[in-house]
């Protein structure tokens, strides 16, 4: 069965491209541009990997990370961010972030990181 990945970013293009690339790799991908809806989805179902933007309206990437840690401690979270402050980075590390990608994201590296995270 294909591994399930959720991608959360308020930029629709990020979601679309990530979906296209990851689907081509054989994963099942769900995308959300609204982080609040994404949080609801995470609460109602289990994903094998979470890829989220850090700065978003309403619910931030940090909030998603904390919720995933609380609900599914074994699920890994990869974070994308346009510009990460040191404080945000430290906080993410403390919350056991799996990987961190500054924008613009390099797709090959992301693919590698996803494979590693899912143990493929």
């Amino acid at each position: 069965m294909a591994k399930r990945i959720i991608v959360i970013d308020d930029e629709k293009i990020v979601c679309d491209m990530a979906k296209k690339i990851l689907q081509a790799e054989g994963y099942e991908v769900e995308t959300y541009t609204d982080s609040e809806l994404a949080l609801e989805a995470i609460r109602s179902q289990r994903f094998d990997l979470v890829i989220t933007d850090l700065k978003m309206e309403n619910v931030s990437g940090m909030d998603i990370l904390k919720e995933v840690n609380r609900l599914y401690p074994e699920t890994r979270v990869i974070m994308l961010t346009a510009y990460a402050t040191l404080d945000a980075t430290i906080e993410a590390i403390r919350e056991r972030i799996y990987d961190f990608f500054p924008k613009p994201v390099k797709i090959d590296e992301l693919k590698k990181s996803v494979k590693k995270a899912l143990g493929d």
């Binding site: 293009i13 990020v14 990530a18 296209k20 309206e57 510009y83 924008k103 613009p104």
Partner: protein, 473 residues
């Protein structure tokens, strides 16, 4: 002409008038003095003649020869005086010509000769007596007439002088009144211009004052020109301040803009990478869509850059009819990302059917962005930003209210927040934002007010005159 010159000319005119009057008075008094001197001589002559006639009568009545001797003594003495006073008499007496004088002298001489002839004869013939009496009578009459006439002349001159004195005083008074009236009117007129200019400066209409320069002709106009020059300098400084204030806000804006640019750049990068790595798998429609997305994202970047350039460009104030609602929306667009990052929710309420305002839209945007940035900084934990645009009750002003739920401003510093270089942000602030905002709103004949409660937030109120549509201006 300078005021100093005008005063000098007025003083010279007055001095000339006074000199003329004095000169006239001097001549008159000298004339009176000469006349009085001549009258004295004639008066003496008159008295002597009376005495001589008395002596003559005594002789003819009592045949006393000593009377005639006495007569001759007095007569000769008087004759010498008369002879030596020719100058005084002819020039001093109005009614006495040279001929008259000679006749008088001749008559006197004849009279004395007749008397002397009478002394030599013991018995005076009746014809001689008659002649003596006639000549004596003529002399007395002549001198009395002369005296009467001259006294009349003197009294006429004196009363004429009194009238002239009164007339002169009146003339001086009138000249004074006219000159002062002229000066006051002139000064008040010039001072009015000056007052007008100063009012314009205090109302912030610097440009109008600065361009209204005329070549100065007097001291007040020099002061007026100095005011115009000062307004020009102030305008220049204000422009500089405006620009520095703008650059200061720009610094804060830039970080937000950088993030805003990051998103479309990341999108383009992702599309390109996906396009390359999945090229064989993508259908024609996908490829077309991707290129369309790339175009849209680059347009997005272009718009952000244009907005930023538009904001930073230094331009002369240009007033256009605008909708305040549009300006508010546009300004919010510029800081939308900043608000998002700072967890500040904005709530914009724009009333319907607002009249337009005549403003320089980029300048008003600058003011609004300043207020938003201040609000964001006052809410480090995030909060709410309420922006209302409405019309006042009198339908004369469009009012923009910017309210935050931040830390508020301490009461003791509230009066100083619009002062240039006043800042509570130590090195992070320039202290120019609000002072520049104040200047901009004043230049639009508007008002900017602040209300704040510590711990509950701050409200800025901007009032800009609405363009009345029914007046059609």
């Amino acid at each position: 002409m300078t005021i100093r010159k005008r005063i000098l000319i007025a003083a010279v005119i007055q001095a000339i008038v006074i000199c003329l009057i004095c000169d006239f008075g001097y001549i008159s008094f000298k004339l009176v003095l000469t006349k009085l001197h001549a009258i004295e001589i004639i008066d003496d002559l008159n008295i002597s003649l009376l005495e001589m006639r008395k002596a003559e009568k005594n002789y003819f009545l009592y045949k006393d020869p000593s009377s005639l001797n006495e007569l001759v003594t007095i007569g000769q003495e008087r004759y010498e005086v008369l002879q030596s006073s020719r100058m005084h008499l002819v020039s001093g007496l109005h009614g006495l010509s040279d001929k008259d004088y000679s006749r008088l002298l001749q008559n006197f001489k004849n009279y004395l000769e007749l008397i002397q002839a009478a002394i030599k004869t013991h018995e005076v013939p009746a014809t001689l007596e008659g002649e003596i009496r006639r000549l004596g009578h003529v002399l007395t009459e002549e001198s009395a007439t002369l005296l009467r006439r001259e006294r009349k002349t003197v009294s006429y001159i004196v009363s004429y002088n009194i009238i002239m004195l009164i007339v002169s005083l009146a003339v001086i008074f009138i000249i004074q009144v006219v000159l002062w009236q002229y000066f006051f009117r002139f000064l008040i007129q010039e001072l009015n211009i000056m007052e007008q200019r100063i009012k314009m400066v205090s109302n912030g209409r610097l440009h109008e004052v600065a361009v209204q320069t005329v070549a100065p002709h007097n001291e007040i106009q020099i002061a007026v020109k100095a005011i115009s020059d000062m307004a020009g300098e102030l305008e220049k400084r204000e422009q500089e301040l405006l620009q520095s204030g703008k650059l200061a806000s720009l610094g804060v804006l830039i970080s937000g803009v950088a993030h805003e640019l990051g998103n479309p750049l990341n999108n383009i990068s992702l599309i390109a990478q996906t396009y390359l790595s999945l090229y064989d798998l993508l259908g024609d429609d996908d490829k077309k869509n991707y290129m369309g997305d790339v175009y849209n994202q680059s347009e997005r970047i272009k718009k952000i850059v244009e907005n930023l350039l538009d904001f930073s460009r230094q331009k002369k104030q240009e007033l256009h009819d605008c909708q305040m609602g549009d300006i508010v929306q546009h300004s919010i667009g510029l800081v939308a990302n900043q608000l998002k990052i700072s967890k500040v929710k904005h709530h914009v309420a724009i009333a319907d059917n607002l009249p337009p305002v005549s403003v320089d839209a980029p300048q008003i945007q600058q003011v609004l962005i300043n207020l938003y940035i201040n609000a964001i900084q006052a809410m480090p934990q995030g909060g709410d930003l309420f922006i209302d645009v409405a019309l006042d009750q009198e339908h004369e002003q469009v009012i923009v209210t910017v309210r935050d739920t931040g830390t508020g401003i301490k009461k003791d510093i509230l009066p100083y927040i619009f002062d240039p270089f006043f800042t509570t942000k130590s090195t992070k602030g320039t202290g120019l934002g609000l002072s520049v905002s104040y200047g901009i709103i004043r230049q639009h004949q508007g008002e900017i007010l602040v209300e704040s409660a510590e711990g509950r937030g701050t409200t800025f109120i901007i009032k800009i005159p609405a363009k009345s549509q029914d007046k059609g201006d």
